[in-house]
Amino acid sequence: MPDPIYLDHSATTPVRSEVLEAMLPFFGPRFGNPSSTHRWGREARVALDEARERLARAIGATADEICFTSGGTESDNLAVIGAWRALRTTRPAVVTTPIEHKAVLEAVHEIEAEGGTARVVAVSPDGIVDRASYDAALGDDVALCSVMWVNNEIGTMQDIPALAAAARARGILFHTDGVQALGKVAIDTRTLPVDYLSVSGHKIGAPKGIGALFIRRGAPITPLLHGGTQDRGRRPGTENVAMSVGFARAVELAVAEREEECTRLERLRDALEAALMAKIPDAVIHGRGATRAPHVLNISVPGTDSESMLMALDLQGVACSAGSACQSGSIDPSHVLTACHVPHELAVSSVRFSLGSLNTDAHVARVAELFPALIAKARRLSGQMSY
């Protein structure tokens, strides 16, 4: 079998060598606790502060606006629940969309369980927030709006500057899950009117287990964890110095390389999309009518099923995904496609290719041959079910 092809960069990415190198000293001699007063502690504290500053600078923020977390899920939870809890007595409602990551949707469920109200706005079949529905939801009782910037399943991009501005005009806080946007969209919090922005390390070449939440100066936040005074009390617990350093390095690289890498990925993605559409004319590309991030291609072919396609692709060495994998590793129908009113037959056949640093033209060429061949076979089988 030829070398395997990794087309699942939206799930996770390999740690970059520059990032690993930046982290290594902190797994070795520079092991100190940033809260300690001695030299080991000071050394660690300086490294942590520097990492915070570098990450902040990369997105136009100031160091005190960066709160390191364990990743995207914690950042989303801290923003959504933390902002709502701070304002709940006067503003008990939150506004979100049905195509958010589960880290936001489940945080909103928790808010409902604690007595808050949730307003879920409508989205178009391409996964774009319906502006009229959104505006109608922005009442005086709303504490926070949370809208994902780049959708992790279909890659569609919301007009976050406009949505955030609309919320701000009504005195409503705004959070965006920017986990898939980081490195794909220009992010400058000086001009972007959001109050909270979630980012994650392992989607851009840092390790799993590190993320950050941008909290605009003055934006309220009630901590989720209780303990020490680390990170101004917003996120108690001894800081993950090594990974914070690695994450800062990864963000700097991703921001510096963004334009060139996006151009490259878009070219690869469009080539793959064109080849697949030419060979499978009735395939459906989700989010095709909307602005999409350059690295995601989510395709459904009637008469096939995701589960079989992923197995067949994996056995041929091609790694991709469908929907979001659940705890057991089984595939559940995607809540994103369901919310976009994608017909059941298409929702259960979706396959997501997400491109990234590991991919080349040769990969696209091979998948452009392999995928249609597997589709043709799957359709022959479904036409002559032996059982």
Partner: protein, 362 residues
């Protein structure tokens, strides 16, 4: 290299099955079927839990083969769990494993095998396939051929059952020998996978509602007529059951029949359980169909011996036969499995028949 897709529950039997196939030089792919939701699972149940999926994945990793999780929750809920509660609501005693094997597990296994160009499929069942024919497992204590009569013959021709020729002890020894410590000493799965605590009444109440007629009060009726007490739901009873019946009789009493039309549980002495004939529907043949007059052996429960019997009528997917000696506690909903020696000829679902009257009451 021939590819084989193995259904792996995370237990010792299917793990050893996969390992043996690897040893035999097959291109083995493992798959765990997720049949029920893991959200509300009870701890410590030996199969179908999240831990079991993880165990299967680890075994595959150890064997150096790929592993996938197949989501069959919807089909399982519809074809197996719904059928299970509806059968109880009709006063019958279903075997969900038979339904699962017939409609869910093997159907999906074969379709996924086709999708990945696997010409063979395999499970950890204790039964044997010899020349495309289904036989009992060699270990009489573990034989599971009773649950497999519903398979299609096309499936049988592609099926490998590597542990069917082993005893359970041998299987555990093989697991230990192969270094599969994760599963070698795992507890046996005894209960129905979605009724881990054995409380099937709770499942019925959950799916049909606590007001379902099968869970409402009804009479205990003595064979021959008189009402001798009341029960709180005929779904709590099965033919042959002793527990929960009114006392005060000279001899032990058993459930002889359930009549859902009047919510009645009919009870009688041991000899009232005996029957010389049995009637079954949904007959599936795994070999040439039997004809009236054919002599074979018939088994009416998993833990029962096959009894010599003569087929009296076959019409479409319905069959009736007469036993050489009366058989006890034939329960509608259970399977009637037909054997010729060790070979499974076919099977069906036992049903009430106007002609299948208890001998003692006749």
């Amino acid at each position: 290299m021939t590819r084989v897709l193995v259904a792996m529950s995370g237990g010792v039997d299917s793990s050893v099955a996969a390992a043996l196939l690897v040893e035999q030089g097959f291109d083995v792919v493992g798959a765990t079927m997720k049949l029920t939701c893991h959200g509300d699972e009870l701890p410590d149940r030996p199969c179908c839990s999240l831990d079991s999926v993880n165990d299967a994945r680890r075994v595959c990793d150890q064997l150096g083969i790929p592993h996938y999780v197949l989501n069959l929750e919807k089909a399982f809920g519809r074809d197996v769990m719904d059928d299970f509660v509806h059968e109880y609501a009709r006063g019958r005693t279903p075997i969900p494993c038979v339904r699962c094997n017939t409609f869910t597990k093997f159907r999906d296994l074969v379709s996924k095998a086709d999708a990945i160009e696997a010409s063979l499929v395999s499970t950890g069942h204790y039964a044997r396939v010899i020349d495309g024919r289904l036989h009992r497992g060699l270990d009489p204590a573990k034989d599971q051929s009773y649950f497999l009569w519903g398979l299609r013959r096309e499936v049988l021709s592609r099926l490998r059952l590597p542990v069917g020729g082993l005893t359970k002890t041998e299987t555990r020894q093989r697991a230990a020998h192969l270094g599969l410590e994760i599963v070698a000493n795992k507890a046996e799965s005894q209960d129905i996978c979605f009724v881990p605590d054995g409380d099937h009444v709770r499942v019925i109440a959950q799916r049909l509602g606590p007001d379902d007629p099968s869970l409402q009060q009804g009479p205990f009726v003595l064979t021959g007529g008189p009402v001798v007490g009341h029960h709180d739901g005929f779904a709590r009873f099965t033919v042959g059951q002793r527990r929960g019946l009114p006392g005060g009789f000279a001899e032990p009493m058993f459930v002889v029949a359930i009549e859902p039309e009047r919510r009645a549980v009919i009870i009688g002495p041991r000899q009232a359980l005996l029957s010389r004939t049995v009637f079954a529907t949904e007959i599936n043949w795994l070999d040439t169909a039997a004809a009236p007059g054919d002599e074979l052996q018939a088994q009416v429960r998993h833990r029962a011996t096959a009894t010599p019997a003569t087929v009296t009528s076959v019409a479409g997917d319905r069959l009736e036969l007469v036993f050489a000696d009366p058989v006890s506690a034939i329960a509608p909903g259970q399977s009637l499995v037909l054997y010729r020696g060790s070979q499974v000829i076919g099977g069906g679902i036992i049903d009430r028949s106007p002609r299948a009257l208890p001998v003692a009451a006749a």
